[in-house]
């Protein structure tokens, strides 16, 4: 095994050549720790790491670092999400140092949803940098041991350099426009230093395969671990909402048909999700699946189970 | 009445020559007519030969005779037009290089562009409804097509007038010519009592009225055209074979040559036609004084009408140029140079393109012989820099004691 960049469980899974599975945990819209404990209970032992979202859709929630730390206490490995919407380079670097000091080893770098969609649409956004520049900044911090300004990461002239050893993730949306730019953007993330990529949730397998072909043509899948995003459909309403209201998402009508004909919509949604995971597993260049069960964490164990991904492999620390 | 001030006058000599753009049916007849009135006439055609979309010269072997005395430039295009009514200067790009033509008036007979999706010229059995109507009334029963499709609302929702014409025509075909008639419409407009009665009568006369949605397709099947669409009432797709199909011109998805229109400053209306100025006041004229339009570029698709119209357009040109000169009262819009921010509002909003940039002073100015003194620019100017001398604010307010 080559020398690890951060030594997170996620990184070890990939290094071992295992098919990784991650899930998502949205921090509470309050200071209620119990929410994290409950959700963590569903996920513990069933996934390799868990994304802790950063005020997703621009709605105020508990800080992702704090929630990640709490999740860690529950036995989960967190992947902290950091967006560029709310913090400038000073604040982000400071948070990265703090997160690492608390034992956090994975960070997913995102641009962030526009505040217009959240509960504080009148706020000022920051966007000091974009997600690609954020990835590069973390890589510089880890590998060159410097801050964005070029200063070395140490407390004083004589103090030791203690850099944050972070496993760096990025996101990819294979379905946004302009379609031809999507792979270019992925390539730029990899060039900036992304170690792993999680994609937007995928329903349109044909279009995703088309994108993956472009990815493979550029050899990107050999430089980065690509995790395909999946989201189980809870209901026909949700499927239609995803199809009609979420930019860059297309839900093929046959899934909607299947759901509307099914007696137990939830079970059918899970069945579809499991089929998707199995299909993605066969796809060349896919190193894992990112399971975004939106406010449905309790069904994660059965999805992972039915997909034949249990038990999760042991990786020594 | 407003205070009538005396204004100075300016004399504008009108050049006794005309430039006709487009050598199709409309252009040929306009040029012929203008030559007949004695104007030096130049006909510009971008194709190798005259005739246009209607391939008109094949029908009129005598076109050379028709056009005798007219300067014909084929494989040529109008690339620039400067000047104003009575004194235009046109740059024509010809195979032998650029040629400048001075003229007192311009007739646009540039035809239409197919913006895609139009079926008009692909099949001789698909014709404008007006043409179908005229040709059918002349036919004996034996000659009448066995089945006729009449298509409304192809691209835009049409008017009650269209619905009325089509329903009347359908009944006539069904009753008097024994044809099977299919009327395709998205939303038949029966918003008036008369129309509703007409609709019921048509139904009683066993006219098939099909309410469709989505796209409608036309495919040639032997001697027939299969018209297919999704029927809203049946909630299923429907296909019927028609020997003839009539389409309202609004469904043709065609437009006058928009590049040409923009270059010469002529407005296109919502249907993409070179917008007529008010037809009652200025028949055949575009919004720009001295520039006229004829033929399909102004929305006339029916051949016999095109010729009649081209001739009346030529008559309009004649009634302008026959004056030899215009005596213009200098009561045109006046720009206060101090206030003008050259925001271009007046230039954009003048319906007649009378407002131009005074390149020396960098302010707007109006051309007296073009300005029609409507005062639209006065109402638009955000700097209150423009006045219409006969209708200043003081004069208008002063009309009230």
């Amino acid at each position: 095994m080559s020398e690890l960049k951060a030594g997170s469980r996620l990184e070890r899974i990939f290094e071992k050549g295992e098919f990784a599975i991650t899930a998502e945990l949205g921090p509470p819209k309050s200071a209620d720790v119990e929410v994290i404990k409950t959700k963590a209970g569903y996920l513990n032992g069933n996934v390799d790491a868990v994304n802790i979202t950063d005020n997703q859709t621009a709605i105020v929630r508990m800080s992702s670092i704090a929630a990640g730390y709490l999740a860690m206490q529950e036995g989960l490995e967190p992947i902290i999400q950091i967006t560029c919407r709310d913090r400038n380079r000073i604040s982000i670097q400071s948070d990265v140092l703090g997160a690492y000091a608390l034992g956090i080893k994975n960070i997913l770098c995102l641009t962030g949803d526009h505040q217009k969609f959240g509960n504080h649409p009148n706020s000022k956004n920051v966007f000091d940098m974009d997600s690609i520049q954020l990835i590069y900044m973390l890589k510089q911090m880890r590998d060159e041991k410097i801050f964005a300004c070029g200063d070395e990461i140490k407390n004083s002239k004589k103090a030791p350099v203690v850099e944050p050893k972070i496993y760096i993730g990025g996101a990819a949306n294979p379905f946004g426009d302009p379609f031809e730019f999507r792979v270019i953007r992925l390539a730029k993330k990899v060039k900036a230093g992304a170690d792993f990529i999680q994609t937007q949730c995928i329903y349109d397998m044909d279009r995703f395969e088309e994108w993956m072909k472009q990815v493979r043509d550029r050899g990107i899948h050999e430089k980065v671990k690509i995790m395909a995003g999946v989201t189980p459909l809870k209901s026909v309403g949700m499927a239609k909402y995803m199809r009609d209201s979420v930019a860059g998402l297309s839900v093929p009508d046959y899934y909607i048909d299947r759901l509307s004909k099914a007696e137990d919509k939830a079970a059918e949604g899970i069945k579809i999700c499991v089929e998707q995971i199995q299909k993605l597993r066969e796809m060349e260049g896919i190193a894992g699946v990112h399971l975004m069960a939106i406010e449905w964490e309790k069904r994660v164990p059965e999805i992972v189970e039915q997909a034949g991904l249990l038990p999760r492999p042991e990786v020594n620390n | 009445m407003s205070a009538k001030t005396k204004f100075d006058k300016k004399k504008v000599t009108l050049q006794q020559s005309v430039l006709v753009i487009g050598g199709g049916m409309a252009g040929i007849h306009a040029a012929q007519e203008l030559k007949g009135y004695g104007y030096e006439t130049t006909l510009v055609e971008r194709a190798d030969i005259l005739g246009g979309k209607g391939n008109y010269i094949n029908q009129r072997a005598d076109y050379k005779k028709i056009l005798s005395g007219v300067t014909v430039l084929t494989r040529s295009t109008l690339t620039d037009l400067s000047g104003h009514v009575g004194n235009f200067s046109a740059t024509i790009t010809t195979p032998k290089g650029d040629k400048t033509v001075s003229c007192g008036a311009v007739v646009l007979a540039s035809g239409i562009e197919n913006k895609g999706g139009s079926v008009l010229f692909d099949n001789e059995n698909i014709v404008p409804i007006a043409e179908l109507k005229n040709s059918i009334t002349e036919l004996t029963e034996a000659e009448t097509p066995v089945s006729v499709g009449l298509i409304l609302d192809l691209n835009i929702e049409e008017t009650k007038a269209g619905a009325e014409m089509v329903l009347n025509m359908a009944m006539d075909l069904q009753r008097n010519h024994n044809a099977e008639v299919y009327v395709f419409c998205r939303e038949i407009r029966v918003a008036s009592l008369e129309l509703e009665t007409l609709y019921d009568t048509a139904r009683d006369a066993s006219v098939n009225i099909i309410k469709y949605e989505g796209t409608i397709t036309f495919n040639t099947t032997g001697n027939f055209i299969t018209v297919a669409a999704r029927d809203v009432i049946l909630n299923d797709s429907i296909a019927v074979d028609c020997a003839k199909v009539g389409i309202s011109p609004y469904g043709l998805n065609v437009s006058a040559d928009s590049g040409l229109a923009e270059m010469v400053g002529v407005n296109l209306d919502a249907l993409g036609q070179m917008q007529d100025n008010n037809v009652h006041f200025f028949p055949g004229q575009t919004n720009r004084p001295g520039i006229f339009a004829a033929g399909s570029c102004r929305g006339q698709y029916y051949a016999p009408q095109i010729i009649t119209e081209a001739k009346s357009t030529a008559l309009s040109v004649h009634s302008l140029l026959a004056q030899k000169s215009l005596v213009v009262e200098l009561s045109h819009a006046v720009v206060d140079e101090e206030k003008c921010a050259l925001c271009l509002t007046c230039i954009r909003s003048c319906p007649h393109k009378a407002m131009v940039i005074d390149q020396n002073k960098k302010v707007a100015m109006s051309i007296p012989e073009v300005c029609r003194k409507c005062g639209i620019c006065v109402g638009e100017c955000p700097a209150k820099a423009i006045e219409l001398p006969a209708y200043t604010d003081d004069i208008v307010l002063g009309q009230v004691g």
């Binding site: 217009k116 966007f127 270019i184 | 921010a341």
Partner: protein
């Protein structure tokens, strides 16, 4: 040009109604062109206030004037008597003009009638849109002449986010084009798509607003 729009009337009226002598002062440049504060708008606003005063039984004298530019001292000369006469000046200039007027006439109450929105263009008659964010370090050479800082809702420098759909920005699909779709199309047209594969480094924002209020001194031009 600087593009502005009028504040809601009730806000303007609220700010001005306590004064007895009000000068409504238009500006003849940018805000005339964007139809927010030229002489015509001065007249309309003056009439509206007078009608409102009549309705509310408020006694107020109003004068109207428009100068070529409120962002240059000399132009105020021709209206200084009117400004001195007034208790308050309701300026229909952009934020620059309002401030400069109050700077020239210290001690005079100068109130804004407009909201200054952006540096933009007249897209077509009656429609204006933002083109420049005044970042102080122009990057247009890199993006085919389309500014991702001003025209992308998130000022992204390395490509579109996931919210680009059919050429529109998810923040307001009816009104905002996705800047990155525009950039992509333009670069394709210019035959230099490969330039977009270059990673743009984190931007130095110090030349713009983030470096504090801007100031330029042209030593050679200083008299």
């Amino acid at each position: 040009m600087i593009v502005g729009e009028q504040k809601p009337f009730e806000k303007v009226y609220e700010s001005v109604k306590e004064y007895k002598k009000v000068l409504i002062l238009g500006c003849g440049t940018c805000v005339t062109v964007c139809m927010a504060g030229g002489e015509k708008e001065v007249g309309i606003l003056a009439s509206t206030i007078r009608l409102a005063n009549k309705q509310n039984g408020i006694r107020m004298e109003i004068q109207e004037a428009t100068v070529a530019r409120q962002c240059d001292r000399e132009f105020f000369d021709e209206v200084k008597d009117k400004i001195n006469w007034a208790d308050a000046v309701l300026s229909m200039a952009c934020g620059v003009g309002v401030q400069f007027c109050s700077e020239v006439f210290e001690g005079k109450r100068v109130l804004p009638a407009l909201n200054t929105r952006f540096y933009g263009t007249t897209e077509q008659q009656g429609i204006w849109s933002e083109r420049c964010a005044g970042c102080g370090d122009c990057v247009l050479d890199k993006f085919g002449g389309i500014c991702p800082i001003a025209r992308c809702s998130k000022s992204l420098l390395n490509g579109p986010c996931g919210g680009s759909q059919d050429g529109k920005c998810e923040v307001d699909p009816d009104n905002i084009d996705c800047a990155w779709q525009l950039i992509y199309d333009r670069m394709k047209l210019l035959g230099c798509l490969e330039n977009l594969e270059e990673n743009q480094v984190i931007k130095d924002w110090s030349a713009g607003r983030d470096g504090g209020p801007g100031k330029i001194v042209r030593e050679d031009m200083v008299l």
